[in-house]
Symmetry: C2
């Protein structure tokens, strides 16, 4: 069997390596219609009779036609591509990616991933996406200086997830740290705790937010004089040493809220080694609802950021910007929720 150009037409399973893949032209020839019409059918848009549609689809199927994304992207005036930068090291980013794929799917956009690795920085990752002429960028936990992000935002819609910028001209999707901390404190207070300490996350902006939120939440319960902040960090290690600090101190709190789940894991480990029972002696709450915290043997009560929701909001905001909607606010603040597991109990 030969097509109009004299090359062999075979089913896809029989086609060997290197053989040219069938194109719209080939399908058109086989179905006895024009290339344009095949394009219409393949795209699934209106403009072809039911009968032709079936005939074309059948022909496409028979010769194993598969649309060429490269050509499609080039020919479209808009690429309908959503570029996503993410850090390969962050478990939370991968949770977000799941949601982004799902939302993009239903918005008829395609996703292009560009990873940050220790040897591939954000600038590089973004360059790649711009090369594909993505219509918009969703950046997960962007690390670039604010000015660079703003600059980028002037060129195309940019949505930064999990980062706060003041006076931003790009869209921001992030968690309401204050609400999260309030929920954690509320929960503990309801369980009868008063001496609730916070192991902080050091000097990062996010750590500052959470520290401040902790203070506010404590005061709201009239526990201003019980506020106790232990310097920590963003690693399990720092949680572990904070725990030791706490133990040496003698006057142990009855509950601890850590900066994040990693810190909580370190803390739990130290407590366990010191013979302190959790939650019997001390209640512990983490922050982030990472995979770690869900491990059955850790079973950590933690403040969860709703990854699915964040992803969906980010995609929808990008799509809205692309549709030219005028949206005044730049901040999308997501309320987190407390996931109560096994590390908190009544006093």
């Amino acid at each position: 069997m030969l097509d109009t150009k004299g090359r062999a037409v075979t089913g896809q399973s029989a086609r060997g390596r290197g053989a040219k893949r069938p194109t719209l032209e080939d399908v058109a020839a086989r179905a006895g219609v024009s290339r344009a019409l095949v394009s219409i059918v393949i795209r699934g848009v209106a403009g072809a009779s039911e009968e032709t549609r079936e005939r074309v689809l059948k022909a496409a199927e028979e010769i194993g036609y598969r649309p060429d994304t490269r050509a499609r992207l080039l020919a479209r005036n808009s690429s309908r591509l959503l570029g996503v930068t993410f850090n390969v090291q962050h478990a939370f980013h991968t949770d977000l990616i799941e949601g982004i794929y799902a939302s993009a799917d239903s918005s008829d956009y395609e996703v292009v991933l560009s990873a940050l690795t220790p040897r591939r920085d954000e600038r590089r990752a973004v360059e790649t996406l711009l090369g594909y002429r993505c219509d918009a960028l969703i950046m997960l936990g962007p690390e670039s200086p604010a000015a660079m992000l703003e600059d980028l935002g002037r060129r195309l819609p940019v949505i930064a997830v999990g980062r706060r910028l003041r006076e931003s001209s790009i869209d921001l999707v992030h968690t309401d740290e204050e609400a999260g901390m309030r929920q954690a404190v509320d929960h503990l207070v309801k369980l009868g705790h008063r001496d609730i300490a916070h192991i902080d996350g050091g000097r990062s902006p996010k750590a500052t937010d959470r520290r401040r939120a902790y203070r506010t939440a404590m005061r709201r319960h009239g526990l201003g004089n019980c506020i106790r902040i232990i310097p920590g960090g963003q690693t399990a290690e720092s949680g572990a040493s904070a725990a030791r600090l706490l133990l040496e101190d003698g006057e142990s709190p009855t509950a601890v809220i850590t900066y994040d789940d990693d810190g909580a894991a370190g803390l739990l480990d130290s407590f366990l080694r010191a013979g302190i029972a959790v939650p019997e002696d001390v209640s512990v709450i983490g922050f982030d609802d990472s995979r770690l915290s869900r491990l059955s043997h850790v079973n950590l009560t933690t403040v969860s950021q709703d990854a699915g929701r964040m992803a969906s909001l980010a995609v929808h905001r990008a799509v809205a910007r692309l549709s030219g909607d005028e949206i005044a606010d730049r901040d999308l603040v997501i309320p987190p929720h407390l996931v109560v597991r096994g590390t908190t109990a009544a006093r």
Copy 2:
């Protein structure tokens, strides 16, 4: 300032949204050369004088030219694209991705990622990559039936990482489980252990490999009668319950090798709760060298799979296949190595 087509030519920072991006044509007009020559310069291939090269680069810089990947891909007869499928949930995959980017970079191939999520299966992920006309596919921990992989392999070079297939016609990159287990047992024996138990990983092929390897390694040391296999699984949970089983049993081994790091984490936790000191009372070795095992408070001795090496081998094999090299063997078996940390000690 206007270009040959009468549209405004401005620097990239001044260009607003929606304005057409400059093309080769624009650069050519500005530099006073042909489009083809600009292409030569931008690609960095031979065929332009040093003087012109500089002039073209300057012009490109001035108007903020950035190559259009879509057009470039379409025009090239080979896309020079390496498609990578990976599971967004697997930490090990993200380690591999780091290495893949690095190796592809130096081989002058570009990487396209396609993620597997709970709602996006492998078939879908592969479809996307085929749509981009990737020259070869690297599949991390592929989940598809062997027949489907073989089928795919008939269409283009496919490298499966971390999966074994017998009589495969696609390339396989995986760890030498036997060597890993041997190293673990050797290490323990050298430390004076004899009662070395194995908590297995259930019914998966990999678990079977490791179980068999454990038996072989034990016999090699004349410890055939000390072989003790406790049914486990692929979660921390299963490690924890296996530990309880071990403790109830009374006759505790002096060392345990688990199926993977997750299992080891569960085991450690159970031991800790039961007042069993590690490594003083029992030594523990995990498998995989996951991020978990590196956490300072876990500090797990484990068998490490060299992700960087595996990634580089996968890429190089793909490139070799694409260069048409005739390579007879399909299996690339990587020796793992033992990472000695804090959970093993002399008996």
